[in-house]
């Protein structure tokens, strides 16, 4: 079913809409959650929480891009769950490693400075992503938005592990240069 119909269905038949949403996006959200949390039980909980949150938010919200909407909610929920888990014990799937890789660039700033620059950085980040080739953008997004392991990314694009690692390394350097060029002090 088309996304816009699913959204409209939430306004008339929310139960059916939720089933349609689950049918279309469960695997996608599960994958996002699994990359972050690394175990199926937490992922199931995360996907259920996502469905609840969507149920509560549509209406009144009417998202234009449903894939991005549910993806972002799932990602946020999974990261929240990971933080709670990490407060008790160290660990946390690919996300920990992915965050560390980007640490010097996007997560190295103190919180106050981040708040001041966040909009500027987001715009610069979107410009950076928009200027990449489709493959480069896919590799970057899979690693740092979807938190996929590098080996999985390499396999997806039919490249060697070292080539995927090298491409990510180069993309981080380019992002850093772009942010510096845009006057964002890191």
């Amino acid at each position: 079913m088309e996304d816009q119909f699913i959204v409209e269905l939430f306004f008339s038949e929310p139960d059916s809409a939720l089933e349609e949403l689950r049918s279309k996006y469960e695997n996608y959200c599960h994958t996002i959650a699994f990359n972050i949390l690394g175990n199926n039980e937490d992922c199931d909980e995360c996907v259920n929480d996502m469905l609840l949150r969507v149920w509560n938010s549509i209406p009144p919200n009417r998202p234009e891009n449903l894939a991005a909407y549910v993806g972002k909610i799932t990602r946020n929920l999974a990261l929240d769950m990971l933080r709670k888990t990490n407060a008790e014990r160290r660990g946390g799937g690919e996300s920990q490693i992915a965050f560390e890789e980007l640490g010097d660039i996007l997560h190295g700033k103190n919180e106050l400075a981040q708040m001041e620059d966040s909009k500027e950085i987001q715009e610069a980040l979107n410009r950076f992503l928009g200027a990449l080739s489709k493959t480069e953008r896919g590799v970057f997004m899979r690693r740092y938005w979807m938190m996929e392991p590098v080996a999985v990314i390499a396999s997806t694009y039919g490249m060697s592990l070292s080539k995927a690692s090298s491409m990510l390394h180069r993309l981080r350097q380019r992002l850093k240069k772009q942010l510096e060029k845009d006057g964002i002090n890191l």
């Binding site: 996608y28 599960h30 894939a67």
Partner: protein, 375 residues
């Protein structure tokens, strides 16, 4: 604060659309959970072993040498080195970046990468070299060269030079490198033009290389071109300033004996060359013309990528002779009913005269071309 969560929705949509998401794994029974625990322990051990292998792999990755800090380099100038001077066989790749690749003869693994100029130094800082396999190293380098626009559809030339060693060693190393480049190019849908040469005694090109701050490989290529032109006062500096793409074209126009695999981009055909009479021009004019063709071709393709298609190229640019045996350069857009633009010049093979006329012809072509552009 996770800024990546706020990326533009269209990038997430793109990611979603290009991916097939598999069904989540089924929940397991209690018995299988017990089994899974043991499997997890086994997996942990496997992970430790794999990590060790990966770490060893990283550890054994080729050394990237920074010339300024190297003691054993033949460092002859502030900004670049011509090649490492230990007498063992090595391969030099020249594009504009010049990189020396040391290969262990016993196992054909890359042991060192040495940047020979600033461009190469910058390039190598962006490459995370995690492998010693020749093909993988070459693949990483070519990816970076392409990403930095050193290799493009209009600039597809690479010079492979083997320094030192005997003929057999040189052929082996050259084949290793060329095969690696070709395999990588195939994967990346690139079309390369690879020049290969062997310098058993690279020292003889040392002075020329040092004087012009280029690699010995490029110095040897320049000598090969200039010698073939039988020139007495050729301008080495001018040749040294050209990149490998332009030198490859010049080498083709003047029929050097250097070995080439794959056509050089922007090459005008032999018939046109013969009519222009490049072989009988003096060196200055020949070089000027070759360089103009190289630059003009790049502009042409940038304005309209479909012109890069050989079929289009040969339909749009032709040489035609009139009843008085005068040659003209004729340019027509085959998709347009507009009359062709004809640039006439007679005596095209006369020394010193043809390049100027040809230059005007190209300018006219671009005036004509611009009339078709929507901006």
């Amino acid at each position: 604060m996770d800024l990546l969560n706020e990326v533009d929705d269209k990038f997430i949509q793109e990611l979603y659309e290009e991916t097939e998401f598999s069904r989540p794994a089924k929940k397991t029974s209690r018995a299988s959970i017990v089994w899974t625990r043991w499997a997890a322990i086994a997996a942990a051990f496997a992970l430790i072993i794999i990590s060790s292998v990966v770490l060893m792999k990283y550890k054994s990755a080729p050394t990237v040498i920074v010339p300024d800090s190297s003691q054993h380099l033949n460092e002859s100038m502030d900004s670049s080195v011509v090649y490492t001077d230990d007498g063992s066989p090595a391969v030099i790749l020249d594009i504009n970046p010049s990189i020396e690749i040391k290969i262990n003869e016993e196992n054909d693994q890359v042991s060192q990468l040495v940047p020979l100029n600033k461009d190469a130094e910058e390039l190598l800082t962006n490459v995370l070299m995690t492998t010693t396999k020749v093909n993988d190293c070459v693949d990483l380098l070519l990816t970076e060269l392409s990403a930095d626009s050193y290799i493009t559809p209009t600039s597809n030339s690479i010079l492979v030079t083997v320094v030192n060693g005997d003929e057999q060693q040189a052929k082996h190393l050259s084949d290793l490198m060329v095969n690696g480049l070709q395999e990588s190019a195939r994967k990346g849908h690139m079309s390369l033009s690879i020049l290969t040469q062997h310098l058993p005694d690279p020292v003889q090109y040392g002075d020329l290389a040092v004087q012009n701050e280029i690699s010995v490989g490029k110095a040897a290529l320049i000598s090969s071109i200039a010698d073939n032109l039988n020139a007495t006062e050729y301008d080495y500096t001018r040749l040294a300033d050209m990149n490998i793409q332009a030198l490859n074209q010049v080498a083709d126009y003047v029929n050097t004996s250097i070995s080439r695999i794959g056509n050089v981009a922007g090459d005008i055909n032999k018939e046109q060359l013969d009519l222009i009479g490049i072989a009988s021009m003096d060196l200055q004019n020949a070089l000027q013309l070759a360089q103009d063709i190289s630059e003009t071709y790049a502009q042409l393709v940038n304005a309209n990528p479909s012109a890069n298609d050989p079929v289009n190229y040969n339909r749009w640019i032709t040489m035609e002779q009139n009843a008085d045996s005068e040659w003209s350069l004729v340019i027509r857009d085959p998709n347009s009913s507009q009359a062709p633009v004809v640039f006439g010049f007679s005596g095209g093979s006369s020394s010193g005269r043809a390049p100027n006329i040809f230059e005007h012809a190209w300018k006219g072509f671009f005036d004509f071309w611009n009339a078709f552009l929507p901006f």
